[in-house]
Symmetry: C2
Subunit: 370 residues, 2 copies
């Protein structure tokens, strides 16, 4: 018997996944993590108003969510200074990226990203048969001019650029992004992933006209708003590209709790400011812990810090493994030379204390074994 | 300037959506519905234990959900009498259908469904470039032998069959489904949509071996479990097909509240029994209201009832419009002759009272105007 006949594309895809979740690592090691600092989650949590809104909305969970996310979309339009038709609410940036790739990338189409950048974007491009062209980081930052040059060379339909960058935490000035857009080849879209923008210095987010067809920006409630487990993000672009998502998206895909929570979170500026301050403080704590151990923390505009372990990737991997063994969940960049670093998410004092206690032990173990 | 270059497939897709949501209709009419009976939602609501679990889990919303939905998957495997590797948790049946179609249907591939069956399935097939072949209902029921015959004729890779059926509420016996599977052409997968199975008579769900590669069954927490707004469903199939989803799905796509709520709901058999009894009672109420108005209710194995308005589609559409105008949200079948009916979801006494009050007025208005 033949069994299911996968499409040639589906049959060709690897069975790998972009990330192993921390719960799976916990099950494998048979113990929970003492410090969950590996997924750039927001340990300072969501706005209490957002929590209240989600809990209240649970009573309405028997209803499907509004496929238009009408009220949230209106509020986001105000927040971004655009029209509601420039905004699409989706199942986190991961979901939005999948649909963006599906709209633009046919098998064989060229797509440009940085070597070592967000693997879930690559997962989607591969998943739709696109051909990835990767540009190295320059000085631990995504190299936007080089990305655009490569896009021109290969005729890319889509370029991925995260600002601030993950996993390094580096960032570009908004004015430089705006200027770079003018060099983007005709018919190429820049996907500007701004997942961490709320943690970045003033001026990091570029000014982009609502009707600019060259760029789509993606934002999320998973990071600064502390709602990763609610799966909600949004895209902002020209009305034509936003409308195109209606051809492919899962219209009834949003949960009601996410819609209600995001709306409340967006209105709680005081909580956002609190989180921003806590994250800034925690970045300094991580840098301090690194320095105490003779390591250098890279400057970061995000809610995580890349810590240079001072040697090669094998050494950093050994440090990471020793931390994980000691109950500290962290991750690290995938490619050299960025993989000399480990990436540590910000968190409150108890988790920072665990990090401070375990990092010297992990370093000692790594130095013994490498 | 060229702007974004959609793929030829994306550019060819219509800008239509499978359904207009009730919130959008409420905004258009400027008033909320008094009786929300159009989307086969469960007005009796979720298990209180599920509500508690969702509200408790909200405190953990800063964490991404477990991409494996490990605990829920284990519980569902027990519930279905299969191994966890036979089960996939996904963002409702809508999300699971999209990924199933993506795995199996390349542009030009043949897919078979019933004329007037679930439009969201058709939306996905069209969205991936598949070619839909539609078989008429027979006696207001999906005609499984005819679907399979057509699949053989056109070399279909996928056949959609809902049991119980939506929108008519009719159903096939499980033993007949099992027997029909033996006639399915080699290499063709039957997608058995069992969204409403918990409302159906004993014996409606066929016995299917865990390693049967001919069928994938889809179930949901949106209907009997009252969690439509949490977006969670599951697929059960041979391990090979289940594993294939890992190549394309949004691994971190599930919300934590949905995962926690579904697990609690699955364990609350008493609440499910309560809902089943209430739905059965409500089906009788709807049939009674229909009879009082000289209309015939079709027997239903789901949480809705198709009511034959006794004339053609134009008349039923007029009845529906008059109900909507009066604050009663209902929907109706899309094609003749099933479109002589309107489809009314079950609900508690207050909503049934609104229906009882408004149906005579709606019928009178429709009789005047058609």
């Amino acid at each position: 018997m033949t069994g299911p006949r996968l499409t040639p594309l589906a049959a060709s895809l690897p069975a790998t996944v972009p990330f192993v979740g921390p719960e799976e690592q916990e099950r494998a090691r048979g113990a929970p993590f003492a410090a969950r600092l590996g997924a750039n989650e927001n340990l300072f949590g969501p706005s209490p108003a957002a929590l209240d809104a989600m809990r209240a909305e649970a009573a309405e969970v028997w209803k499907y969510g509004d496929p238009k996310s009408h009220h949230l979309r209106e509020a986001l339009a105000g927040h971004m200074g655009v029209a509601p038709q420039n905004v699409l609410v989706g199942e986190g940036i991961d979901g939005l990226l999948g649909n963006l790739v599906r709209l633009l990338v046919a098998p064989g189409d060229a797509v440009v990203t940085s070597q070592g950048a967000y693997p879930t974007f690559n997962y989607h491009v591969t998943g739709f048969g696109g051909v990835l062209h990767k540009v190295p980081y320059r000085d631990d930052a995504e190299d936007l001019p080089a990305l655009i040059d490569r896009a021109r060379e290969v005729g890319a339909k889509l370029v991925y650029f995260a600002n601030p960058d993950n996993p390094m935490g580096t960032w570009a000035r908004g004015v430089d992004v705006t200027a770079a857009l003018d060099t983007l080849p005709d018919g190429c879209v820049l996907c500007l992933d701004e997942a961490y923008t709320e943690f970045a210095p003033e001026g990091t987010a570029p000014k982009i006209a609502a009707d600019d067809t060259r760029v789509i920006r993606m934002r999320t409630f998973s990071k600064a708003y502390g709602m990763a487990g609610a799966r909600i993000g949004y895209a902002v672009a020209d009305t034509g590209l936003i409308a195109a998502f209606d051809r492919v998206r899962n219209h009834f895909g949003m949960t009601r709790m996410a819609q209600a929570g995001a709306l409340a979170a967006l209105h709680d500026g005081a909580w956002l400011a609190h989180v921003q301050a806590e994250v800034a403080r925690s970045r300094d704590v991580i840098a301090g812990v690194a320095a105490e151990n003779g390591l250098r923390a890279l400057p970061s505009a995000a809610n995580f810090v890349a810590v240079d372990c001072g040697k090669d990737g094998a050494f950093a991997r050994a440090v990471l493994a020793a931390l994980v063994e000691r109950g500290v969940f962290v991750r690290m960049p995938f490619v050299a030379p960025q993989d000399r670093c480990i990436r540590i998410s910000c968190g409150p004092a108890p988790e920072m204390a665990v990090l401070g206690e375990m990092l010297p032990q992990a370093l000692a173990e790594a130095r013994e074994n490498t």
